[in-house]
């Protein structure tokens, strides 16, 4: 018998919870590894369908009927054409869904995105494919599609030769008002990342070089002239996109080094004039700790001031359970019907740290108000839960997914 209780709460086979209650769990027919694409469709007949992009092949995307959160029904699960492509990201507007495709190496296909008609969720119909493949491109990593007209995305392009192979994905704006014929209308990249730029290539992060690439590219109806972009090694970027054909840099908050890089999401809270900036943990066992959720004062968008971070449990407690532990995706207040929106409560996933909610009404002192850490899924290669993405619906239900094996967890948040 061990002589102390140290470590007793860190057993990865045990759920931890505060103000979140598990309502149901779906293993997605044995393919429970989900990427960072989750979207909710309010379908005909009052059904709520949750669409999820898989983290890797063989599956493309899976839809689950979550109308009754205690009685989940898988509606459809689709295949990728081969094992060297992943979808990872998707978004849903009405009955149209955009799905990203990123290949494991350059010069492969499909690399781009698909638009699907999902008016009949059981049988998604392909509307069109946007090709972003090329000799320097791996295609699309993440899409942002919330208005039915424009897809903002992190993508490579056939004509974009990066100065460094890791800098291949930049910000592209695609007009999809004619869904059968998507068309690029604008793009922006961090100067120095493209061959031929007037500035020299950028200095690499000495220890954690994940590339100067776009990740999440968010645009909200409150500020249609702004794009909020996580630029991985490049930090947080605000762009003026009043003229989509010529995005202009407004502001750039670059905090790595000394930090460990990988800026993932830049989520604006327009009322309190804050940015919530999340990193992504990309290494196991806490090697790239700290990976944080930052609260940034954005009252003056040209002078962003970080004022606090959301408090996380001690890294020692979780990092040794296996897999990653640190920030990743946030619920992004999607401006679409069905999505929950809050300017005071931030919900995010933290891999082995589970899903966590913070109250930022006092932005100088964010407070953790809820969390749920599921037990390690049986077949997970990580040895612990690795919650990857989260979507909160307007009923206050929290949908969160495991990166490798656990599938979908539906939680009731009581805060």
């Amino acid at each position: 018998m061990p002589s102390t209780l140290t470590g007793i709460g860190t057993r990865p086979d045990q759920a931890l919870s505060l103000n979140m209650k598990l309502l149901s769990h779906h293993e997605l027919a044995g393919f429970g590894g989900i990427g960072e694409g989750m979207g909710m469709q309010l379908a005909k007949g009052g059904r709520r369908i949750l669409w999820m992009a898989h983290e890797s092949a063989p599956k493309n995307f899976t839809a689950v009927d979550v109308t009754d959160p205690k009685n989940l029904k898988m509606v459809v699960q689709t295949e990728l054409p081969h094992a060297k492509v992943r979808s990872n990201s998707l978004d849903v507007v009405g009955d149209v869904m955009a799905v990203a495709y990123q290949t494991s190496a350059v010069n492969m296909k499909p690399a781009g995105f698909d638009l699907f008609d999902i008016s009949s969720p059981e049988s998604p119909k392909l509307i069109s494919h946007f090709d972003a493949s090329g000799q320097y491109s791996r295609g699309v990593h993440a899409v942002w599609f919330v208005d039915g007209e424009t897809i903002h995305m992190a993508s490579g392009a056939a004509d974009f030769q990066p100065t460094h192979p890791s800098d291949d994905q930049f910000y592209r704006i695609i007009d999809v008002r004619k869904p059968s014929k998507p068309e690029e209308v604008g793009r922006w990249w961090l100067p120095g990342t493209r061959v031929g730029d007037s500035v020299p290539p950028l200095k690499r992060h000495p220890k954690f070089d994940s590339g100067y690439r776009a990740h999440n590219t968010n645009v909200f109806p409150q500020r249609p002239d702004r794009a909020y972009v996580g630029y991985i090694s490049g930090g947080a970027v605000i762009l003026d996109i009043a003229d989509k054909s010529r995005p202009k840099l407004v502001s750039h908050w670059h905090y790595s080094p000394p930090y460990t890089g990988f800026t993932h999401t830049v989520l604006p809270l327009f009322g309190p004039e804050l940015l919530i900036v999340s990193d992504e943990c990309v290494q196991t066992d806490g090697k790239d700790w700290p990976k944080l959720v930052w609260v940034v004062d954005a009252r003056m968008e040209t002078n962003l001031v970080p004022i606090s971070t959301c408090p996380l449990p001690p890294v020692q407690t979780f990092a040794s359970n296996g897999g990653r532990f640190g920030a990743h995706n946030l619920h992004e207040n999607l401006p679409v019907p069905g999505s929950w929106r809050s300017e005071s409560i931030i919900v995010g996933t933290f891999f082995g740290g589970g899903v966590r909610a913070f109250d930022v009404s006092n932005p100088y002192r964010p407070e953790e108000i809820a969390y749920y850490v599921p037990p390690a899924p049986k077949l997970s290669k990580a040895g612990s839960i690795q919650l990857n993405d989260v979507y909160v619906d307007d009923r206050g239900l929290v949908f969160t997914v495991d990166r490798f094996a656990g599938g979908l967890y539906v939680l009731e948040m009581t805060v």
Binding site: M1, S3, L5, T6, G7, G9, N19, F318, S344, T414
Partner: protein, 353 residues
Amino acid sequence: MPERPRDVLAGKLPVSLITGFLGSGKTTLLKRLLRDPGMNRAAVIINEFGEVGIDHELVANSSESMTLLSNGCLCCSVRTDLQETMRELFIKRRAGEVIDFDRVFIETTGLADPVPVLHTLQTDGMLGAQYRLDCVVTLVDAVNGLRNLDDAPEAAKQAAVADRIVITKSDIAPPAAVAELEARLQQMNPYAARMIAVNGEVDVAFLRDVGPRSTRDAKGVERWLSPAAGSRPAEGAYLGERARGGAHDASIRSFCLWFDKPFTWDSFSAAVQVLTSLRGSDLLRVKGLVNVEGERGPVVVQGAQHVFHPPVSLEAWASDDRRSRIVFITRNLERESVESLFAAVGTLAAQSS
């Protein structure tokens, strides 16, 4: 779309305080509780490990001051003081060093006045932010209970502040004594539900989920304030005195005041301030739902002696009955005095507006 206000109660860990005079059977009850499957994920703070006699085969894991039992219950002994123990427990839970317990049971010593523990929960900033009082459970034994209520002010106070009363040792007391004890408890505190336990056998459910636990559950809060099932409306002191010819503890009274008109928060808190500053030590327990002008739902107030918990606004009323209702359990303080104080403050406040 205005955001739904946060449920300020939901985030806090409920605390059940288990009190009872010397010999009332707390140790027997705890022995049972620590073996109960319903105690999975509960933390129990006890005075002495030795006394409850935890068998080795029940222990899953242990350290100097904490033991994880095989039913998933975390048992801790108080070392220096309760405040420190509760802080340490929360910090260890937060760091994942102990199970993520979702409620706490605290055993108080037999001579203890439970009110200071209620105050600790309220006045310690960290404890107040992380824990909430769920209920005070008082054990009264059927053999000596009546005498203790008469002779020991601590015993009377324990019964007066209770939200739940467990009558123990009924199997070795004459039925008439049990009935007399019940009548006395009914007279002192009709707002506490009672049960009779034999050999410490108590359904865990009786000891938990009693007090306000969600700002969205007005019905639950109303139940908490209602006289316990089967009891008469709260005019106990008067009936009790007549029935027993004015025994010692008749100085403890319980009554519920109802108010038809909404209060302004200023006038309500002024009345409470006068009451606590003049007679705080005689307000053994106050709990109520107050209709405050400008609030969508009722405001939950509760206090013990001089200390009141911060008021909590509920999202909505449970029914059309929006009268304020406040339960008072007092010592040497008549219903009429409290009533007339509220009336006077109400009149003054109305004249000022």
